[in-house]
C-alpha cells in the first residue's frame, strides 16, 4: 500500500497544474499574436472603422487594474493602516503582474510589434501614448523598489517615502490612461475631461476586486481564515469604490446628454445601439454595479463567498464597460459634416460600424490575463506574499 500523499505533495502538484494551464493560455496568446502578424490584422475583427478592439479591452483593463491594486498598498504605507500594510507586498506583485500582462497585449497587437523599440527610442513629447511608455516603465521600477523596501528589513524605513511616490505615480499613470481617450478631440465618446478621474476611480474598484479574489484564493489554498473584521473593512471599501465609479460613469453620460450635439451618441450607446446598451445596463450597471453593492451591503450578506462573487462581478462589469466604451465609442459615426446626413460613402461615413471579435484577438487578450496569472502564481509560491495579519487585530470592529 502506497503512503498517503502529504499536503505539500498535493499542493505542489496543483501548483504545477496551474502553471501549466497558465502557460498554455499564455502560449495560445503568443501564437495568436504571431498569427496576426503573419497574416495581418485582417484575421481580427478590427477594421478601418473599429481600429481598437478586444485586445485593447483586455489591455486597458489590465493596466487600469494594475494601478488600482496598488491602492491597497497606499492605504497601508501612505495612510498608515496596519491591516493594509500587511497586504502591500501582494498588491505590489499583482500590480507588476497585471501591468506586464496588459502591456504584452498592447505591444503584441501593434501592426509592427517588431518595431516596439522605436517607441522607446523615437519619442514624441506631445503624445500621451509616449508619456505612457515612460509612466508604465517607471511604475515597474518604482513598484520593484517598493517591494524591496517592504520585504528587506534594512530597507523598511524607506517604504513610506517610496510608497508615497508609488501612490502619486499611479494616480498620474491612470490619469494618463484616461487622457488617451480624453485627448481625442473629434470623437463624441471620448473628448471629456471627466475621463481621467473616472479611470482613476474605476482603477480603485477593479484593482481591489482583483486583490480580493487573489487574497481569497491564497487564504483558502493555505487553509487560513481571513479575520472577519478585515474582511468587513475591505468589502466596505470595495462597495465604496464601486459606488464612486458608478457616480463618475453617470456623470460622464449625464453631461453628454445635456449637450445637444452629443445626444444622438448617448441615445445610441444607452438605448438603441444593440449590443452596447445591453452590455452597459446589463453588464456594467446591473451585474457589475448593483449586484456587487447588494452582495456587499445587504444585511446578512457580505460574507467571504459574497465578497468573492461581488469582486468577480465587478470585474465582469469592467469588461462590459470597457467594451462599450472602446468599441461602442468607435462604432458611432464621426460628425464630419454637422447639419448634413450622409447619403452614400464607401468608407462607412454616417453609418454604425460593425465589429465581431475573432478568435485570435480574444486569445491574445486571454494571453495577457494568463501572463498576469503566471507571474502571480509563481510569485506567491517563490516569495512570501501571503498577508500576515497581526493576531492581535480585533475580530470585530
Amino acid at each position: 500500500m502506497q503512503p498517503a500523499k502529504t499536503f505539500a505533495q498535493i499542493e505542489s502538484r496543483y501548483f504545477y497544474l496551474l502553471v501549466a494551464l497558465g502557460a498554455l493560455a499564455a502560449g495560445a496568446g503568443l501564437f495568436s499574436a504571431y498569427y496576426m502578424e503573419e497574416h495581418g490584422h485582417v484575421v481580427t475583427g478590427m477594421n478601418n472603422q473599429i481600429v481598437w478592439g478586444m485586445p485593447h479591452v483586455f489591455a486597458i483593463f489590465l493596466i487600469v487594474a494594475a494601478s488600482g491594486v496598488l491602492n491597497v498598498a497606499s492605504v497601508g504605507s501612505v495612510f498608515k493602516k496596519e491591516v493594509y500594510k500587511a497586504r502591500a507586498p501582494l498588491a505590489g506583485l499583482l500590480s507588476i503582474a497585471l501591468l506586464a500582462g496588459g502591456l504584452s497585449v498592447l505591444m503584441l497587437d501593434l501592426g509592427r510589434p517588431d518595431r516596439v523599440i522605436v517607441a522607446a527610442t523615437k519619442y514624441n513629447a506631445t503624445s500621451v501614448f509616449a508619456w505612457n511608455v515612460l509612466l508604465y516603465s517607471a511604475l515597474f521600477a518604482l513598484v520593484a523598489l517598493y517591494l524591496w523596501t517592504l520585504m528587506e528589513k534594512r530597507m523598511n524605513p524607506w517604504s513610506k517615502p517610496v510608497g508615497l511616490l508609488v501612490f502619486a505615480w499611479r494616480i498620474i499613470l491612470t490619469t494618463g490612461t484616461g487622457l488617451i481617450f480624453a485627448f481625442l478631440v473629434a470623437r463624441q465618446a471620448y473628448a471629456s475631461a471627466v475621463l481621467p478621474p473616472m479611470f482613476v476611480v474605476l482603477s480603485f474598484a477593479w484593482g481591489l476586486a482583483v486583490f480580493l479574489i487573489v487574497q481569497s484564493v491564497m487564504f483558502s489554498w493555505n487553509e487560513l481564515q481571513l479575520n472577519p473584521a478585515i474582511q468587513k473593512r475591505m468589502k466596505n471599501l470595495l462597495g465604496l469604490f464601486v459606488l464612486s465609479a458608478l457616480y463618475l460613469v453617470a456623470t460622464y453620460h449625464l453631461t453628454n446628454l445635456y449637450f445637444a450635439k452629443q445626444t444622438a451618441f448617448e441615445q445610441f450607446i444607452l438605448f438603441d445601439g444593440g449590443v452596447y446598451p445591453w452590455l452597459f445596463w446589463g453588464g456594467y450597471v446591473v451585474a457589475g454595479g448593483a449586484l456587487p453593492l447588494l452582495l456587499i451591503f445587504t444585511p446578512g450578506l457580505g460574507k467571504s463567498g459574497h465578497v468573492l462573487a461581488a469582486s468577480a462581478l465587478t470585474l465582469l462589469g469592467a469588461f462590459a464597460l470597457l467594451y462599450v466604451f472602446i468599441v461602442g465609442g468607435q462604432a458611432f459615426p464621426l460628425s464630419i459634416f454637422p447639419g448634413y446626413e450622409v447619403l452614400s460613402s464607401s468608407f462607412g461615413d454616417g453609418q454604425i460600424a460593425s465589429y465581431a471579435p475573432s478568435t485570435p484577438e480574444i486569445l491574445l487578450g486571454f494571453g495577457g490575463l494568463a501572463i498576469a496569472f503566471l507571474i502571480t502564481t509563481i510569485g506567491v509560491r517563490a516569495l512570501n506574499f501571503l498577508p500576515h495579519d497581526d493576531p492581535k487585530t480585533p475580530h470585530h470592529d
Binding site: 502578424e37 497574416h39 495581418g40 490584422h41 485582417v42 477594421n47 478601418n48 472603422q49 481600429v51 481598437w52 501593434l110 501592426g111 509592427r112 510589434p113 518595431r115 516596439v116 522605436v118 517607441a119 523615437k122 519619442y123 514624441n124 506631445t126 503624445s127 500621451v128 501614448f129 509616449a130 511608455v133 488617451i180 485627448f183 481625442l184 478631440v185 473629434a186 470623437r187 468607435q330 464621426l334 460628425s335 464630419i336 459634416f337 454637422p338 447639419g339 448634413y340 446626413e341 450622409v342 447619403l343 452614400s344 460613402s345 464607401s346 468608407f347 462607412g348 461615413d349 454616417g350 460600424a353 460593425s354
Partner: protein, 249 residues
Amino acid sequence: MSKVDINRRAFLGKTGVALGGLVIAPGLVLFDFAHAQQLPVRKPGEPASSAVRWGMLIDTTQCGSNCNECVSACSKENGWPEAKTPTDVQWIRKIEIKQVSTGRQVALPMMCQHCANPPCVDVCPTAASFKRADGIVLVDKHRCIGCRYCMMACPFKARSFVHEPVADHDSDMPRGQGTVESCTLCVHRLDRGVQPACVEACAKTGHRAMIFGDLNDPNSEIYLRIRSVTTTQLRADLGLNTGFSFVGL
C-alpha cells in the same frame, strides 16, 4: 448686295469663328493645364520650404455625384487597390451628403485635410506622423509601429491601416502591412512640380472641382478663389486650420 452674298458672308463669318475656335480652344486648354502645373520643383536634398503651404479648394458645386475619377487616379498613382471590404485602405473616398434643413445634396471627395494643427501628429508616440514644412501631413512608414492612435485622433477618418501583406510596391510610394497611411498630396509628384493625381484627373473630366496650390501665394488661383468666395473648413470648431476648404457646404 444680293441675298445670296449676304448668306455667303454670314456663312463664312460663322465658319471663320468656328474654325478659329477650333484652333484656339485646345491651345487655351493646354495653356490652362500648363498654368495649373506651374509648381516649383524641389531639387534633391533641398528641404521643403515653410514659405509654402500646400492646400486644396474643393468646389462641391462642380463635383459630379457619379464621378469617381479622383479616387481611381489616386488608387492607380499610389498603388492601393480600390476598396471592397472594411479592412481595405482608402486614401480618398467620394461621399454624398444631404443638408438636413433643406434637402440640398452635395457630392465631395474626402481625404486627409492636411491640418496646420494635426491631431494625428500630436498623438503619434514615435513621431512617425509628421507635418512637412510646406504643410503636408505624412506618415514615415519606417517609423510607424501600427498603434492606430492617429486613426482614433483624426476627425475625418482620413487614415487607413494596412490589414494585409502588400504585394506590389510602387517605387514612389512604399507601403507596408501593419502601418498606417493616408493621402500624401502626391508628395512625390509635387516635388517634381506636378499636381496631385486626383486634381489632374478631376480637371480632365472637365469638372474642375479640385483646385490645388500654395495658400501663401497671393497670386495663386487657390488664394484668389478663397479670397473671392465663401469657403468652409470641415470641423472648423476644432481649430485645426485645415489645408482644405470647401465651396458649397
